[in-house]
Subunit: 352 residues, 2 copies
């Protein structure tokens, strides 16, 4: 059974995902018996195409590169163009919606509405937008469950590094009493540079911007807002918390001085912007703040743009996972692993 | 449906596992709908008991502590004593055999025969013995498949730290091109002590022995033989290799001098006993050898008895997992997570 996909959004991540499906077609069939077809793509800037029998990925990418819009895809019988995102979600024959639209992280829109539309149409959603998961977790999870569809969002925390799926599949049976993470690559890159090169926060930020690690307006990263969304997702999904983004105390790294960085060094410590969620009795508290960690703490050695998370488990003790926290292929992979999970469930049901 | 278990072996790990089942009874039911019953225990030194309706774990542990044999379990109708391991495997009503017998790692026996007997009786096996997995992987996996039963062995590599299950459930879709690990806590403890305290290999070994990290005869650890079994399991299970333990080049840490440790320090490097498996084209090579790793390598900061492994993935890049590599509760947990995996499969089949 071919798994039919519709992509809502076709920016960097969507294109990275499409390239993976194209490049690993044989591998995915051999290792997972997975065959996929992209039947539709709808992007607010790059146009919209739909063919119930599937689109050729290389042709889509070529046409986009050459003409700036996917609607120049070669005309053929059954090809439709110009459908908007909602219509694409509701009326195409896709099994799963790959939701990678441009979304306002403060409202979670339009991604929240897209999720609802998909679930109500009996379609799975796999996504990388943080907003809907941080802002509307309970509501959307409940709706997906009621409609009997799957909702995957591995990519919302550490791109393809399995910060969400790893504990669920491999640490079950433990109670997770604390989660501590380096969940923002930009700030970790800045802190690493300050310590290694002995430069100020301002200089390090400038370098990060020149290298494309930080945006022109870096507020979201350096004030800890990005990490705040991610710790809310981790706490709500893995610890059963009921946190709101606004409730999380949040302090960024803008006031950290070179002197503080160097003092820590002499104490055999290192400043890190830590995202934390801690269980105390029935209560779960979360915070974002710079903290001096011991050099022997596994999080201390996480340098540059790498991300990492430590799960404190009652049976197993601390378990730490580190890897990429961003990137076109890496985030594209997060969509793939969610898709593989859906496929494995389907397969195990069919094989009975 | 209650999952019925028979424990073959009742040493440290078996007792740790039994304690977990007792202490987390409600938690496992609430989070996983898992209910278990230990129906039989057979240990070559501590005796053997079987009751088809299940044994009371606290009573078993008390009786063992008080009298040195579990056969002093209070007599009741239906209780049988004195069954040997094979009879316990073949003739009890257990669904799953928890294989934690005392086994010769060079031959994998008697654990290999126990696995075969269990599979042939239609019973799952969950185990922590490395021998059978390193020496008879293909044969046993094939038999388990043919008999439609499950074979779990998470605990053979990094105790409960999910070195095997994590990549299978969360990195699928990637090709793993290299695995590099610190898979032996004893040698890592010795290397950490040499560097931190400036003491010789001999002194560090003595300390490790006093603390119980190293055995009276430490050969198996310090010559790399223990890590060799583990890299063979990782390579064969995760990379589809067909390695024999004897084929793996193996160099221990006995010749490493304090001077070499200190020279590395000045180069911003650190000696680690690395277990490696590398794919080159269709070929997979594995080795155990001390290696100087860069301080910024996530493996460099793994100190003391902690274990860690880095998976080099074609889509996601390097992903590193670190955590306990030994311990009563930690290894007991490895059995639990294998059991939870069986239970989840059963549950998802029943719910259809």
């Amino acid at each position: 059974m071919t798994h039919k996909l519709a992509l809502i959004g076709f920016g960097n991540v969507g294109q990275g995902f499409a390239e993976i499906l194209r490049d690993k077609k044989e591998f995915l069939y051999e290792t997972e018996e997975l065959t996929t077809k992209i039947v539709a793509i709808a992007d607010i800037n790059k146009g919209s195409i739909y063919h119930p029998d599937g689109l050729d990925i290389s042709t889509v990418l070529d046409v986009l590169e050459g003409t700036g819009t996917i609607e120049n895809y070669p005309a053929c019988e059954g090809l439709m163009t110009g459908w908007n995102s909602l219509k694409t979600i509701q009326e195409t024959n896709a099994d799963t919606i790959i939701e990678v639209s441009f979304t306002d992280v403060n409202t979670g829109q339009p991604a929240i509405d897209y999720c609802k539309a998909a679930f109500n149409s009996g379609k799975n959603v796999v996504m990388t937008n943080k907003g809907p998961v941080a802002l509307a977790f309970k509501e959307l999870m409940e709706l997906a469950r009621r409609k009997g569809v799957y909702w995957g969002f591995e990519g919302t925390v550490m791109s393809g590094t399995p910060a969400l799926r790893m504990p669920v599949t491999t640490l079950a049976g433990n109670e997770i009493t604390e989660i501590r993470g380096i969940l923002n690559g930009t700030t970790n890159y800045i802190l690493t540079k300050m310590e290694e090169d002995g430069i100020s926060f301002k200089e390090a930020l400038k370098q990060a911007q020149e290298l494309g690690y930080a945006e022109a307006d870096p507020t979201n990263d350096i004030e800890g807002y990005d990490a705040r969304y991610k710790i809310v997702i981790l706490a709500n999904y893995l610890m059963g918390a009921n946190l709101n983004v606004k409730d999380v105390i949040c302090k960024g790294i803008t006031n950290l001085t070179l002197k503080e960085i160097e003092t820590a060094k002499m104490e055999r410590k290192r400043w890190k912007l830590l995202a934390k969620a801690t269980k105390r009795g029935e209560q779960i508290c979360a915070s974002i703040a710079p903290e001096k960690v011991e050099l022997l703490d596994p999080l201390a050695s996480i340098s540059g743009a790498v991300n990492a998370v430590t799960y404190e488990c009652d049976l197993l003790g601390p378990v730490t996972l580190s890897g990429a926290g961003a990137g076109k292929r890496e985030t594209g992979f997060s969509l793939l692993i969610d898709l593989i999970s859906i496929h494995r469930q389907t397969l195990s049901n069919h094989n009975r």
